[in-house]
């Protein structure tokens, strides 16, 4: 089914791209941080959609669960706790324009590398058939010859980070 020469896949891609980049711009430009957090969630959602298009359903699910469900909420909480959404004067540093230039140049350079493409073409244009499944991904995480060590290390890291975050952020009753 093709609508005016555009495949549904391309349509979906366009939609999620708009979500992703629009959300990102919202984060970058919004002066109200609560809205910024919401825009971030929008952007992350678009990213999850792109993952689905790239036939990485597990990552898409994790994106929604972890990123939107946890990190997005965490950001919202942090914004609320620091009450800085009322602080409308603080928005950009004095270097915002030069940052913009640098970011634009950087984008230009990446685009050159990707589209022109300077370092040789990106093959193939058409994605090959999907052979990797979520099951394989799960197996590779616990396979002694693949990722079991990084997987365990990352688990440790996550635990340490959670404990660390609690320790850092909790009120010290002794000092109060």
């Amino acid at each position: 089914m093709v609508i005016g020469g555009i495949t549904p896949e391309a349509l979906a891609f366009g939609f999620f791209t708009i979500l992703t980049l629009g959300g990102a711009l919202g984060v970058a430009l919004n002066r109200n941080l609560v809205r910024g957090a919401v825009w971030l969630i929008v952007s992350l959602f678009g990213m999850a959609g792109l993952f689905v298009l790239l036939s990485a359903p597990f990552l898409a699910a994790v994106q929604v669960l972890v990123y939107i469900g946890a990190i997005g909420i965490l950001f919202t909480f942090a914004v609320m706790l620091t009450r800085s959404m009322t602080n409308l004067r603080e928005r950009f540093t004095n270097q915002w324009w030069i940052s913009a230039i640098v970011a634009a140049l950087f984008f230009l350079f990446l685009l050159l590398g990707v589209v022109v493409p300077v370092w040789g073409g990106l093959t193939p244009d058409q994605a090959p058939a999907v052979v990797g499944t979520t099951e394989q991904l799960g197996a590779s995480f616990v396979d002694g010859n693949q990722f079991v060590l990084p997987f365990e290390v990352v688990s440790l890291l996550l635990t340490a980070a959670i404990i660390g975050a609690i320790v850092i952020a909790r009120l010290h009753e002794e000092e109060e």
């Binding site: 984060v27 965490l74 915002w96 990446l110 990106l122 990084p150």
Partner: protein, 102 residues
């Protein structure tokens, strides 16, 4: 079928927006959000390359998953630090936190 370079271009755009956010915002939380955007852009690149160039090998996705976990850890610790700083300095503006400046 969307070609690979489009995904990469989206990733590049997202990365640059994230960079811009990190470089230009005064608020520490906004900066962290920018970092999250950058990490997401990297993830998109990883998964894109995996899908188009090595779909039989799961390492692209696995790597993306690790990036995701580390991003989550980083956000948790970063926000905790920001909250702690806010408690002591009553500000989350990066330029105000200059205890270690000469």
């Amino acid at each position: 079928m969307v070609p690979l370079w489009m995904y990469l271009a989206v990733g590049a755009a997202l990365f640059c927006i994230g960079t811009y956010t990190v470089l230009s915002r005064k608020n520490a939380i906004a900066i962290l959000m920018g970092v999250e955007l950058m990490l997401n852009a990297v993830n998109l690149n990883l998964v894109g390359f995996w899908r188009y160039q090595a779909p039989e090998n799961m390492s692209g996705q696995a790597f993306a998953a690790f990036v995701l976990v580390i991003a989550a850890a980083e956000a948790a610790v970063g926000l905790a630090i920001i909250i702690a700083v806010y408690r002591s300095r009553r500000s989350v503006v990066v330029e105000d936190v200059d205890l270690l400046r000469w």
